[in-house]
């Protein structure tokens, strides 16, 4: 029977896993609809008038992004943080009840965004589209998560605090003020006036990425790596380097009307960001040394490793975008679409896939339903995303070069995109089928009756 709140250890974490997998289908479907509209605009034209407004590109685009980053990815983060905490502190979770409240309120927020955004209720700022009541829910949720993190750490029986937990503590602590400032939480309109609105928006966009998706995400990867490879982390100190996020937000808007000094500052800091990211990559590859063969057998580890390689590429691209000359060519083009999917899908979501497989196995005591489905999931998603991203990068370079001739009519540069939009649709559809394999695998494991092994939701350490 489904109860509102369960006090069983690990139950909130498991619910977050299931909800994440459920929400993952939504941005997948929305993404395919959007890609279809760009490839074949006639499909959008032919929709009946009753549904047309709600399926309009400009309304579905923020719904796609918000449900992907908050409905899917963030919920895996919640699940994994609640899963990892008792194991690394050798202590029960501070409050399973708070964790369940967290689950209900977070899913209320995600459902609210999926209803409000297609209705055109939006604040219209990147990653900050959610309307005011949902903004308040976001902050409340991160505070509740922080209560559980800090409360569990305070009661820990393991004196040493593993690097992942440092990352979780730092992430929750800075995400709240970043979200509050970025969304102008004290004002229901949620927007600042004039140029400052955009400066704050990109402070928020990049720092939400730094503080939440990267700081917490790297913490998750540094937990998974020793766990799945069976080898201790190469260096704990190197891991800590990743804690220090930087102020790189304005590199999203080079050559913009914002002050030049701010752009130069952000360029310097973006280049400095190469230090912690290199530290992470060194740590990752040194830990994996002599364990690479395990990735052939273990699909979860393979997702982790592939995600880390894509993460390295994300960082290389990120630093290169912060140079004005390169930005001038690729900014505003489809290159950026490739880059954002490289970060959110091919890196962080790949880690999230690995985490979900691990957590469902440990929390239910049942292994994934089918090894073959896992392989399909891996290969369809990896190859599909490669086709998606490469087509967008090529498209972006062509677009940028076409624009900088200053002689080709703009409409012609749009028509040139058609084959690349087609390739993106194909790659996206492959990744979408991969995601369905994943969801089906998790659903079957959840529904299974006989535990394969004893459940391991005791706080038995790593």
């Amino acid at each position: 029977m489904f109860r509102l709140v369960s006090l069983e250890p690990g139950s909130a974490s498991l619910r977050f896993c299931y909800a994440a997998v459920f929400w993952l289908i939504v941005p997948g479907v929305l993404g395919l609809i959007l890609a279809t509209f760009l490839y074949l605009p006639a499909v959008a034209d032919s929709l009946p008038l009753a549904v047309k407004p709600y399926l309009s590109f400009g309304r579905l685009r923020p719904a796609h992004v918000n449900v992907a980053i908050f409905g899917w990815l963030s919920q895996v983060y919640f699940a994994a943080i609640l899963f990892i905490l008792p194991r690394l502190t050798r202590t029960p979770l501070y409050s399973e009840r708070v964790a369940h409240a967290n689950w209900w309120l977070w899913n209320l927020m995600v459902a609210g965004s999926l209803v409000s955004l297609p209705m055109g209720l939006t604040q219209g700022r990147e990653y900050a589209e959610m309307i005011w009541p949902l903004d308040l829910l976001f902050v409340l949720n991160i505070v509740l998560l922080a209560v559980n993190i800090w409360g569990t750490v305070a009661r820990r029986r393991e004196p040493k605090i593993y690097v992942s937990i440092w990352n979780f503590m730092a992430a929750t602590m800075v995400t709240v003020p970043i979200y509050a400032v970025g969304n102008k939480i004290w004002d229901p309109s949620g927007a600042y006036l004039g140029m400052n609105d955009n400066i704050v928006n990109y402070f928020y966009v990049h720092n939400l990425f730094n503080a939440w998706f990267t700081t917490a995400g790297v913490g998750l990867a540094l937990y998974l790596l020793p766990k799945l490879s069976g080898k201790a982390l190469y260096s704990h100190r190197l891991g800590l380097w990743g804690l220090w996020s930087v102020w790189t937000g304005q590199h999203h808007q080079l050559y913009s009307p914002a002050p030049d000094w701010l752009e130069y500052l952000t360029i310097v800091f973006s280049i400095l960001a190469a230090v912690p990211t290199t530290a992470f990559m060194v740590n990752f590859f040194m830990t994996m040394r002599s364990r690479w063969h395990l990735a052939a057998e273990d699909v979860a580890l393979r997702f982790l490793v592939t995600g880390a390689i894509f993460w390295g590429l994300t960082c290389v691209q990120g630093v290169s975008h912060s140079f004005r000359t390169f930005s001038m060519v690729v900014h505003f083009t489809n290159w950026v679409v490739g880059h954002s999917h490289l970060a959110f899908v091919a890196s962080y979501s790949f880690w999230a896939f690995a985490l979900t497989y691990l957590m469902v196995r440990e929390l239910t005591g049942r292994a994934a339903y089918s090894r073959r489905l896992m392989e399909w999931h891996y290969w369809l998603t990896t190859l599909g995303m490669l086709i998606f991203m490469i087509s967008m990068w090529v498209a972006g370079l062509i677009q940028g070069q076409n624009w900088s001739t200053y002689s080709i009519p703009f409409l012609q540069t749009v028509i040139t995109m058609k084959p690349y939009f087609g390739a993106r649709l194909l790659g996206g559809a492959m990744a979408g089928i991969g995601i369905l394999c994943f969801a089906e695998n998790v659903r079957r494991a959840a529904r299974g009756r006989q535990p394969v092994t004893a459940p391991t939701h005791a706080w038995s350490g790593q």
Binding site: G58, G124, S245, P257, Y406
Partner: protein, 161 residues
Amino acid sequence: MKPNLVYLIGGSLISLLLGIIVTIIIPAQDPAGPSASAQPYSEEESRGRDIYLREGCHYCHTQQVREPEAGRGMVHQRGDIGPESVPGDFYHQSPVFWGTLRQGMDLAHVASRPGIGDNAGWHELHFRNPRAVSPGTVMPSYDYLSADEIQSLTAYILTLR
């Protein structure tokens, strides 16, 4: 350095606070007044701007001309993307629609393009059926908007001079 809670809390908060001061508060001290192209919006133009926001036009259209491309044409004819955007252009705007992607063209100075951009009739036709006037465009048709809404949206677009 041995990590402890003081370093973690202090370091994170100082880094965040400095970030807010240097990258948000100090830039906001710049007293740029409105530029020549920034006019307060009429009631109808404001309504149109709200429709632009609601329909998410800014996901495919930027309103931001960068210095190297300023005054150089890539839309219809030479020079027609218009002058470089300056802070004062956005004086009356909240939120701003700088945008991140150009699936469609930049609209910062769209209403300065003679014959098309400054022609209300062209815009109304284009909103209802983009492919009738721009063959090959991927813009969705906004035929679900009411006549009033199309008129307000057009009034807003014509402020982008």
